[in-house]
């Protein structure tokens, strides 16, 4: 194809068409000078809108994980709940000292809690008071209930005081939810602790009963209850 066609008719037609084309007015430069500041004014909103858009994008794309942790005041973590429940039971045992109160409030002659061994045995009258006393003592006594000789004979075994203590800081500290496996381990641990207390109380009772029977010159059946897991 040719780079340039003559096409004189068409060329002449266009020349005539645009022959009287107006020239650029002289005031154009003045107008342009007046519009030039508009350039700077236009760039400023663009700059501001750019910043606003970037802030919006940053807000939308901000990772959700870094937000403040969701606090559920109504529902405490399971571990804290269980620890507090255990603590409340232990507090009752330690602070209220129910065994001591029962031992002091009730006279020794009054039958309180029937022991199965005590109810089965039918001893002479002279030994009935002693049997009742044994039944009373099936409740775990404290060192205050036992005389110095008894303590000397049975050693220093006392109902084990729970030393677990939860401070206010521990309560306030938010513990994250734990997995079911760990929860199961915690449950087993708590069960072992409870059984250990029961076992030790039972062992003390057995020893005391044996001691009393020895004093009376009798043989009693010793329970061979074994706590097995």
């Amino acid at each position: 194809m040719k780079e340039r066609f003559k096409d004189t008719d068409l060329r002449e037609a266009l020349r005539r068409q645009y022959a009287d084309t107006p020239q650029l007015p002289a005031e154009f430069m003045d107008r342009m000078q007046r519009r030039k500041p508009a350039l700077r004014h236009r760039t400023l909103p663009l700059f501001i809108s750019g910043i606003a858009a970037s802030i919006l994008i940053a807000f939308l794309l901000w990772p959700k994980g870094e937000e403040a942790p969701i606090v559920q005041p109504e529902q405490k973590p399971i571990l804290v709940q269980q620890t507090e429940e255990t603590q409340s039971v232990e507090d009752e045992v330690v602070t209220n000292e129910p065994v001591k109160v029962v031992a002091e409030a009730r006279p020794l002659v009054k039958p309180a809690k029937k022991h199965k061994h005590a109810t089965k045995q039918k001893e002479p009258d002279e030994a009935s008071d002693l049997q009742k006393r044994i039944a009373e003592l099936t409740i775990v006594p404290t060192s205050a209930d036992l005389g110095p000789n008894t303590l000397r004979l049975i050693g220093t075994k006392e109902p084990k005081a729970i030393t677990t203590s939860i401070t206010e800081e521990d309560k306030e500290e938010s513990v994250p939810p734990i997995s079911p496996e760990r929860q199961a381990l915690v449950d087993i641990f708590l069960a072992e602790e409870a059984l250990q207390v029961v076992y030790e109380q039972q062992a003390q009772t057995e020893e005391l009963r044996a001691f009393v029977a020895d004093l009376e010159g009798k043989e009693i059946e010793t329970s061979h209850f074994i706590i097995a897991f």
């Binding site: 066609f5 004189t8 068409l10 068409q17 154009f28 350039l39 236009r42």
Partner: protein, 183 residues
């Protein structure tokens, strides 16, 4: 006397002197191109101002290896003018005679048919040019009136030279067909 490169550098730095020099040197050319298509002088001035403001804003995009500064300005002016014409003029659906495309005629035959020197034919062509779509009329103006090379026109209207040549051929053939139908 600043060179084109110095003017561009000065405008890129945001210097008023560079902008003024660009206006002094190219405003007439840009205005002349626009005013041929936009009949109202005030509108043409407005579009010329828009062209330069857009050029000042986007001066970083100018690549001197692709075109001269004046061609780049014409490219901006071409697009702004077309947009303006599209907004102002109602959409006209031209019922073109598609037999034009089936007419087999060479470039040489067309050249001969459009170079008769016949006064009536020239006047008729003047009318036909006014009836052409804006883009085609602008293309003819750039080619025949401004005598710009095909490559430069192709850059201004945003196409390649081959496609432009085909387009030009079709416009010429359409004009020729219109002339022959009239006769």
């Amino acid at each position: 006397m600043q060179t084109e490169k110095q003017i561009v550098e000065s405008v890129r730095k945001g210097e008023r002197e560079g902008q003024d020099e660009m206006l002094r040197r190219y405003a007439n050319q840009v205005f002349a191109m626009i005013v041929k298509q936009v009949p109202d002088v005030m509108d043409a001035q407005e579009l010329t101002q828009d062209t330069f403001l857009k050029a000042f804003r986007n001066i970083e995009r100018y690549n001197d290896r692709l075109s001269s500064l004046s061609t780049w300005l014409c490219r901006i002016a071409y697009r702004l003018t077309l947009d303006s014409l599209k907004r102002r003029r109602p959409i006209v659906v031209s019922l073109e005679d598609y037999s034009v495309w089936q007419t087999d005629i060479s470039d040489e035959e067309l050249e001969a048919a459009l170079s008769t020197g016949n006064e009536k034919r020239i006047e008729k062509l003047q009318e036909l040019v006014q009836q052409l779509p804006d883009e085609e009329r602008m293309l003819l103006t750039l080619y025949y009136f401004d005598d710009l090379p095909l490559k430069e026109i192709a850059y201004i209207i945003g196409t390649d030279a081959k496609a432009l040549a085909v387009r030009l051929y079709r416009i010429r053939k359409k004009l020729y067909k219109s002339l022959t139908i009239e006769h």
